[in-house]
């Protein structure tokens, strides 16, 4: 199977600080890649490079049929604007020249009611806001979704809803998912591959190989505890 994304010898520098050095990995269609690592390891920077939002050295190669959707970290958005959720979705739909009915269909898919579409972005709850961002990413029918910590600052119930939504979407639409997450138990449950970024050498492989206490201790430079548990579905 040809990879949908192939990254070779990727190096990203800001002024004289190297954030990512000689990174190589591949993602296949349908993969669920979790990107983990301590703060400042370059996880968001990596997503931005994959989206061509910043300069880099090396090769980032998306397969020609890859269509990307992106859900940024919640904190990156200005919520004091006089904008309704629908204004954002309609703006993207017009830029991509999509029919207005697509807005309704992505909103339905993530569970945004007509009332929420008319709500000011500043007054949405954390969970609703995250759903709005996911609906935004889904406009244009992407087959790859890049998520930057989709559940940061959400309560457990909202977090569970978001992850359930992601799992359903991936199943229905055969999506490839790249997910930056701090939540190692979620990573353990749903990821098919794990990429860990840290000040040392990056590591890449299936969760069972990467998510060992020894590797995690090296990645986070601190002993970590986590519990392995299995769900029967």
């Amino acid at each position: 199977m040809a990879p949908i994304l192939s990254v070779r010898d990727l190096t990203i520098k800001f002024a004289n600080r190297t954030v990512i050095q000689h990174l190589t990995f591949e993602v296949n269609p349908g993969d669920n890649l979790a990107i983990i690592g301590p703060n400042g390891a370059g996880k968001t920077v990596l997503l931005h490079a994959l989206l061509s939002l910043l300069p880099y050295e090396g090769v980032i190669e998306w397969s020609p049929d890859a269509k990307l959707g992106y859900v940024p970290q919640k904190i990156a958005a200005d919520r004091q604007l006089p904008l309704h959720v629908n204004d954002l979705l309609a703006a993207k739909a017009r830029i991509l020249k999509l029919p207005a009915k697509n807005i309704r269909s992505v909103a339905d898919r993530v569970g945004l009611t007509a009332e929420l579409l008319k709500t000011s972005v500043g007054t949405l709850s954390g969970g609703e806001f995250q759903k709005a961002l996911i609906a935004f990413a889904l406009l244009g029918e992407p087959n790859v979704l890049l998520f930057d910590e989709p559940t940061a600052s959400l309560d457990e119930l909202a977090e569970e809803h978001i992850y359930e939504l992601l799992r359903d979407l991936q199943r229905e639409r055969h999506l490839t998912i790249l997910l930056v997450s701090h939540d190692l138990s979620v990573v353990y449950q749903s990821a098919t591959k794990v990429l860990c970024l840290s000040k040392g050498k990056p590591c890449f492989g299936p969760p069972r190989e990467i998510l060992t206490p020894e590797t995690l201790e090296t990645v986070y430079s601190a002993p970590l505890k986590f519990y392995e548990h299995h769900h029967d579905k």
Binding site: H48, L51, L53, L68, Y70, P72, A76, A77, D78, L81, P82, L83, H84, D87, L88, A90, A91, K92, R94, I95, L96, S120, V121, G122, T123, L133, F136
Partner: protein, 260 residues
């Protein structure tokens, strides 16, 4: 009765009010309203030079205004400094140079403007400028909205942010320029700032916000001209317009709670 030069000036001022309301609304969301005040001051050295050497003040103002805008854009891009910091430096420098260059007897006019009859050519040029401003704002409204909300989300949707910022800065300066003669370098930014702030107080709906800002601006200009023409001819219309605009903002404070 009015003669044609007066009518041209009045119609252009009303059209300018619409452009200022629109540009001000976007500038308010971009948190760069004060930049309009500062950018108008950048015209001061050009105005001063024009008074000193005896050519059309608008040409002098336009020249330094656009040079200043490009300078601000370039400095911000290259130094990574916040817009307000860069603008602060350019602002202070321009006012100082303007103060040195402008002949004393022309300083009040350069700072506060003057209502003067317009030739047909000046009127048509002004109308073109206003239409360019309105067209650019409507053409790039969606891109601007996404850029305001979350720049990386806009960029990931294919919006070229740097170019977009330049376009916006240019129409922003163009609006200041259209208002420059009758409002003066000190007040040209006021119609970009105050009506949009009033609009934002009153509504949290994007299209209503744009409409209310434009309306507030048009009402201020219209009534300002009426007041100075019929009641208080000794005052400069620019100052009266700004005072009315500020009074409308104060009235908007009566709405409670404010829109969020």
């Amino acid at each position: 009765m009015f003669h044609s030069g007066e009518i041209y000036a009045f119609v252009l001022a009303l059209l300018f009010a619409i452009a200022a309301g629109l540009v001000g609304s976007i500038a308010l969301m971009k948190r760069m309203l004060l930049a309009s005040d500062v950018i108008s001051h950048v015209a001061l050295p050009g105005l001063g030079l024009a008074f000193l050497l005896g050519f059309n003040p608008l040409i002098g103002g336009a020249a330094t205004l656009f040079l200043g805008t490009l300078l601000i854009w370039q400095l911000q891009k290259q130094t990574g400094l916040a817009t307000e910091a860069v603008i602060g430096v350019v602002f202070a420098g321009s006012v100082a140079i303007g103060a040195v260059l402008t002949p004393k007897e022309d300083l009040v006019e350069a700072l506060f403007g003057r209502f003067e009859d317009l030739s047909l050519l000046a009127f048509l040029l002004g109308v073109c400028a206003v239409f360019i401003i309105i067209l650019v704002v409507f053409r790039f409204k969606d891109e601007l909205i996404l850029g305001l909300f979350a720049p990386e989300l806009a960029a990931a949707t294919g919006v070229k942010l740097e170019r977009l910022n330049l376009y916006f800065l240019l129409v922003f300066s163009l609006s200041v320029l259209v208002g420059l003669r009758f409002l003066g370098a000190l007040l040209a930014g006021a119609l970009i700032i105050i009506p949009a702030t009033t609009g934002r107080r009153l509504t949290s709906d994007l299209s209503h916000f744009l409409v209310v800002s434009c309306l507030a601006s048009v009402v201020a200009v219209g009534s300002g001209f009426a007041v100075t023409h019929y009641l208080l001819p000794q005052f400069s219309p620019g100052a009266v317009i700004v005072i009315i605009s500020a009074a409308m903002f104060i009235l908007s404070l009566l709405k409670w709670p404010a829109s969020v």
